[in-house]
């Protein structure tokens, strides 16, 4: 008998993990600022970094939000690299100028980057010093969004984790929802839970610093995003307890997530049923409509947003897709196990990346749909593959019942489009078709 995990695994939870070490093609944690600064309306994100960091933010934001945004980069210059004392003085000066110009700012995040970390610029110390100067008007926190420590959505994790120690202590029995979601989605979650009698409900991050939740041994919390491992640990350090559940994507994920919370708050089955039956039915109908073209199609996730595991669960179980590979920048087992449990064994689970080898695998299997970063989408389309940009999954409201159909739609649109365009228009493009020619 063969006892290898590959043969005996029934769900992806016990599946072996493919780890390769080569070029990664993922954003760094600074990218999270793009959505975090919209969410926290009196916060400013000051990256201490290089021109590259500023350019990354600008490029990832696509210059979508050209109004003076609540983020900026303090670009290190030759002089700052020479003497450390200078860099701290310079930082103090830039912060003073900024807070003077933006009196509406109540929270200031000093965000570390690769250059600031390599030169060992101590932003924790700077944050402490500046808090003393500007408290109580402004609280200054710090976290790392650097590419040598964080990938893409990990930046949000680092940011939220940095806030936890500063949260007021509380003995209240409260439910805390953790993760930065668009307001419309957050409101839906709160309304559903409220109707079941669950409460009081608080959110982290709150839209304004004055509304930041308290935390303590009576706090129970549920994560809205699967990439919040450090934040979870920080909350547990404060005595709070996590409610474990699959993530609220799709009808099933939302129901299981709500159910876990309902159980914690002893909501009876009848109430749960009454509150969820209508939106569940709506979600199922919407998914059925939007997922028609997804059924039987194969999907390959390149590592990107960290949403790959819960989304695979949704696409496999509710949309009838077949997963070939689920790539993630890193796997936080403690958070995604409930999702992995629900995905039947079969797909390759990979952690980290060697992008060239991964592209070789994609070319070998030619999946119907490849989820990848913006740098790879057009080149793969030009090879005749169909792609979905991962970043849209982070920017678009996709959680909970009312968005379940939209979520399926995000994946089905590229496939529908491929079918709509006549073959000669849709590629594969001949070599000679390159832009540059």
């Amino acid at each position: 008998m063969n006892h290898s995990a590959r043969i005996t695994a029934r769900t992806c939870r016990d599946a072996p993990v493919l780890r390769q070490r080569g070029q990664r093609e993922v954003f760094c944690g600074l990218t999270g600022i793009i959505w975090l600064h919209r969410k926290m309306q009196d916060a400013f994100f000051l990256v201490v970094g290089s021109r590259t960091c500023a350019h990354l933010l600008q490029s990832a934001a696509g210059v979508m939000i050209f109004a003076e945004p609540r983020f900026g980069t303090a670009i290190l210059e030759e002089g700052d690299l020479a003497g450390m004392a200078d860099a701290h003085d310079e930082l103090d000066r830039e912060v003073a100028r900024l807070l003077d110009r933006r009196p509406d700012i109540r929270q200031l995040f000093l965000v570390g980057s690769c250059p600031s970390e390599v030169i060992k610029l101590d932003l924790a110390r700077a944050a402490e010093r500046l808090t003393q100067v500007y408290a109580p008007r402004v609280r200054v926190l710090n976290y790392s969004g650097s590419g040598i420590e964080t990938t893409f959505t990990q930046g949000e994790d680092a940011c939220l984790a940095s806030m936890v120690p500063a949260l007021p202590a509380s003995d209240m029995r409260e439910l805390l929802l953790v993760g930065a979601l668009p307001e419309v989605v957050e409101d839906q979650a709160i309304s559903l839970l409220g109707k079941m009698g669950v409460g009081p409900i608080r959110v982290l991050p709150a839209p304004r610093s004055a509304e930041m939740p308290g935390v303590g041994p009576n706090t129970v919390f549920a994560c809205l995003q699967p990439f919040l491992g450090t934040t979870v640990a920080a909350l547990q350090n404060r005595g709070a307890r996590m409610i474990r559940a699959p993530f609220p994507f799709g009808e099933e994920g939302t129901t299981l997530w709500l159910k876990a919370i309902a159980n914690e708050f002893s909501v009876d089955d009848a109430t749960f049923e009454r509150v969820t039956v209508a939106p569940r039915t709506r979600a199922r109908t919407a998914i059925t409509n939007a997922s028609a073209v997804l059924r039987g199609k194969s999907i390959f996730f390149m590592p990107d947003s960290q949403l790959e595991i819960p989304l695979t669960r949704f696409l496999v179980r509710e949309c009838g897709m077949e997963a070939i590979e689920i790539g993630q920048p890193y796997i936080h087992k403690g958070l995604v196990d409930p999702d992995l449990d629900l995905i039947p064994a079969g797909p390759v689970i990979s952690e980290g990346q060697d992008v060239d080898l991964q592209l070789d695998r994609i070319r070998a299997v030619r999946p119907d749909l490849t989820v990848c970063g913006l740098g790879l989408a057009n080149p793969l389309e030009a090879e005749g593959l169909t792609t979905k940009w991962a970043i849209e999954l982070v920017f678009t409201p996709v959680h909970f019942y009312e968005q379940a159909g939209d979520l399926a739609g995000l994946f089905s649109r590229p496939l529908r489009r491929r079918d709509l365009l006549k073959p000669e228009a849709a590629g594969p493009f001949p070599e000679t078709h390159a832009v540059a020619r």
């Binding site: 040598i148 420590e149 990938t151 989408a377």
Partner: protein, 506 residues
């Protein structure tokens, strides 16, 4: 340390990527952390490239620091060579790798790579993207180009066009056409679509056409010095400049200056009576030096505009743009801080901005129409159609592009006549644009901008102001307020409005 929100230029290694991505058969091994791979999307999304940029990043991590990052570089370099088999490699460091001082050039040089390896030293904490393009191309030329026998017939090298350039693809076509008229054929176009092997043939050319001084001036000078190839100083953007360019090329090459003007429509389009309304339109120019310089001449001499402000973001060309400003009787703005540019535009209150994608957004905020003349540009500035800036067709394209954001001539008159008609009212904006006219931003201005006292408008003056067509209203308001303030008034009446109008009448 300098606080930056939006930047005109990326770091210098992005400049190197623009050269590498423009070329073929060249590979760039970049010592950089994973997040720096964002730069790929500039090419694949903004320019819609259908290949990955030929760049391999080492993507070292925090835990590798103090271990063997040099080893990671060597492994990556070997892997990239084995996989892509380029004709040449360029190697270098991004801002982070510059700090760990692994010396990619030295490491790669000591490896057994059987093709030329060109090491790039791009100081990330001092220089920017445009320096990166110029320096990278220069280094490639320095390593690869050789003195050699000239081609028997007169041939030219077109140098400077590269990836993510503003209309470079189409400018090449247009310049080739201009040269062809004079019987000059092409030896090498570079970096655009050139291979490293092509670069070794540069020495055969009789003349270098320096299309974009920003990206190839160092290489042009080097080739003049070492290969004896003269280069052109005129950039053929605009009718006058194109004529000058033809004369310059003919002079250098000893051929008869010839031009086929059969496709040139711009001069008649500018002269025809509908264009009367363009007279004295106040324009503000901002972008890279080359495009601003050429646009200034077009604006004044070929469109009849009034240039009320100009400047560039690339400091390397600051002196020449300052001189240009003097020629126009204005002080040039040299800055890479878009807030300064916004402030200058606000103060100059132009009727149109000719700028980059940044000025397009500034224009949106201030309610001023904007046409794009220079990089940095966005996806909409890479059109599917043929749309050069250079040569005769370029002149036609520029006329159309600059006029498009404005209200058309006849329409402007009708708006003035019927301005109180409920349907045909001015707030509807130019009839050929689907969206309503941009309005000055309603966003509360940042406190820093709240300068001076607030001027009170009497109700009748306010009503009278509304009768002024929308595209002139902002300026009228500002001029009137300035006039009133100068008169020591706190209030604007109808009389103030008309006195101000008389004062500023041109």
């Amino acid at each position: 340390m300098k606080l930056t929100v939006w930047t005109y230029e990326g770091p210098p290694h992005v400049g190197a990527m623009r050269v590498a991505t423009g070329m073929k058969g060249l590979h760039y091994v970049l010592h950089a952390p994973q997040g720096d791979t964002y730069a790929d999307l500039l090419f694949t999304m903004i320019e819609r490239r259908d290949h990955r940029p030929p760049v391999t990043y080492t993507t070292f991590e925090g835990r590798d620091l103090g271990e063997d990052t040099a080893g990671i570089f060597k492994k990556t370099c070997q892997g990239a060579y084995d996989r892509f088999r380029p004709q040449a490699l360029i190697v270098g460091a991004s801002c982070t790798a510059e700090l760990i001082q692994d010396d990619p050039g030295g490491l790669a040089g000591a490896m057994d790579i059987p093709v030329p390896v060109v090491a790039l030293e791009l100081p990330s904490y001092q220089r920017k993207e445009i320096f990166g393009t110029d320096e990278t191309f220069y280094q490639l030329v320095r390593h690869l180009a050789q003195p050699m026998k000239k081609t028997p017939e007169v041939t030219a090298n077109l140098i400077g066009p590269l990836a993510l350039g503003f209309r470079h693809r189409d400018d090449i076509q247009e310049v080739k056409g201009l040269l062809c008229e004079m019987g000059i054929s092409i030896n090498v176009v570079a970096p655009f679509d050139a291979t490293p092997k092509d670069l070794t043939m540069l020495g055969q050319g009789h003349i270098n056409i320096l299309m974009y001084p920003e990206h190839a001036e160092a290489a042009a000078r080097h080739m003049e010095r070492t290969l004896g190839i003269p280069y052109t100083k005129t950039v053929p953007i605009g009718v006058g400049a194109t004529h000058d360019f033809i004369a310059e090329v003919a002079g250098i090459c000893g051929v008869v200056p010839k031009a086929d003007l059969s496709r040139l429509r711009q001069p008649w389009w500018a002269k025809s009576v509908d264009s009367t309304y363009l007279t004295g339109k106040r324009v503000f120019l901002f972008g890279d030096a080359t495009h601003v310089r050429t646009a200034a001449r077009i604006a004044r001499d070929e469109m009849g505009f009034d240039v009320v402000g100009l400047g560039c973001y690339n400091r390397e060309f600051a002196r020449s743009i300052r001189t240009l400003g003097k020629e126009f009787g204005i002080e040039a703005l040299i800055t890479d801080d878009y807030l300064d540019v916004e402030k200058a535009i606000e103060e100059a209150a132009p009727e149109m901005i000719l700028g980059t994608q940044m000025e397009r957004h500034i224009g949106k905020r201030l309610g001023i129409p904007c046409a794009v003349i220079s990089a940095p540009v966005h996806v909409q500035d890479f059109p599917a159609r043929y749309a050069p800036q250079m040569g005769w067709e370029g002149a036609n394209v520029i006329f159309d592009t600059w006029v498009h954001p404005l209200v058309m001539g006849l329409e402007e008159h009708l708006l003035t006549m019927f301005r109180e008609d409920f349907e045909f009212h001015d707030a509807a904006g130019p009839s050929h644009h689907g969206t309503p006219a941009p309005k000055p931003v309603g966003v509360a201005p940042a406190p820093v901008r709240a300068i001076g006292a607030v001027m009170v408008w009497r109700a009748d003056a306010e009503t009278e102001l509304k009768k002024i067509p929308f595209f002139a209203r902002g300026k009228a308001r500002r001029n009137t307020e300035k006039f009133a303030a100068n008169q020591g008034l706190q209030e604007v009446s109808i009389d103030t409005l008309y006195e101000a109008r008389a004062h500023y009448a041109r």
